[in-house]
Subunit: 242 residues, 2 copies
């Protein structure tokens, strides 16, 4: 893990960009508390585009005493593109623009290979982050690309709680996998998110095997998660990671 | 409003039983803060049976600086029974015990007259409570018999926010009424509550006309609302009534 930049954001938060092999990422640490529990910030890809929202989430996490980290997804941002993923993304966009239902087959082509590539990268990143003296356990996963969060929750025992954002397509094959999730879950659903299949999100919530699972549904569209809902997610991590 | 008993619960909470005409009820006030905002505690009827849970909710409200009050429902507890309501209740119980779907007609017979009788009683109680020097505005409604909460939210402008517990049958005719609700809503749904129609609860949440509405779904059965979900509901009132 090579740190390539370092910036004090104020309010006692240190922001460092890093690369880990070919994976670029960002780490935010509270300068006061060490070692800090860690929250992995999931997102749909495109670190630069997502930066304002990620940094806001990281600042809130730091204020609660948590470190936060994110990495660029394979095939997104400045990382090499995959022709197959680009094709699947174009097919998805075409279906959405035409107002057609999205074929399961498109979702499978887009999301399954992404999960296969991204999850081991998150795990490698986790190895590196947990070797830093300023990071301790436990670890939470927070955010989008729900399918990545599900797979991580199943295969990565170092993740002990997750906030999942129900705003992305999940391959049908992964519903069975959702039953194997047993860590405490806090699921955010934007009720009137037009790009999201609400019924699928509810079915998925139902499928999760966790004994503690909470669904918070709110108005406000895909990017309009209310401040109080962000606060509630932060409280969930405080309950489970502190 | 006649106070018939008075008890200091400790932690600075005063509990007083009252009667208002033929309506018995209980008022909890924080001894520190006056005048306090008020939360009306809804419940399915049977004040004595419900007392432990109501008192726990009232203590939590008092700790946040809120007064809380509840009244016995018409036809419940020690109040005179209605033959028609008893018949409807028996028909409902029979359908549930037989594992049959509950006829809309039974729900209408049970709930619509209850709403017609209970809502004016709540309003009369509100008149009396708001005339006490220790009670100020604003006012919230919290709890069950969702249909009563819906009607109150529509007809009673002094109620400015509501926590609704999705654990009771709501007449189909009231779904249209739900669209007229515009106050901030916080809806609690026990996801695996066998006595509750989950899809109906989701449809009802969808129908509410409020710009701010939040659904919190949790595991734990009808009476198993987790402590953190109660805390979140308390925070909702702190946001809207303080």
């Amino acid at each position: 893990m090579q740190f390539t930049s370092e910036q004090h954001l104020g309010s006692g938060v240190l922001e460092r960009e890093f690369t880990l092999g070919e994976i670029p990422g960002t780490l935010w640490t509270p300068e006061s508390a060490a070692p800090a529990p860690l929250i992995l910030l999931g997102h749909p890809g495109g670190l630069h585009r997502m930066y304002p929202r990620l940094a806001a989430r990281a600042r809130q996490s730091a204020a609660e005493g948590f470190a936060a980290a994110t990495i660029e997804l394979p095939g997104s941002g400045d990382r090499p593109r995959s022709a197959a993923a680009e094709q699947a993304r174009a097919d998805l966009r075409r279906a959405l623009e035409a107002g057609e239902p999205v074929d399961d087959e498109i979702v499978d082509r887009l999301v399954l290979p992404l999960v296969e590539k991204a999850v081991p990268e998150w795990q490698t990143t986790l190895d590196a982050l947990l070797s830093l003296p300023e990071i301790g356990g436990p670890v939470g996963y927070s955010g989008g690309v729900m399918a990545i969060g599900i797979r991580l929750a199943v295969v990565e025992p170092r993740i002990s709680a997750a906030v999942l954002f129900a705003g992305s397509f999940v391959p049908r094959a992964m519903f069975e996998e959702a039953r194997q999730v047993t860590i405490p879950l806090h699921v955010l659903l934007q009720w009137d998110d037009e790009g999201n299949d609400r019924q699928q999100a509810l079915d998925l919530f139902d499928a999760f095997g966790s004994k503690e699972k909470t669904l918070h549904a709110n108005l406000g569209g895909h990017t309009g998660v209310p401040q109080f809902a962000g606060d509630a997610a932060a409280q969930f991590f405080t309950r489970h990671l502190s």
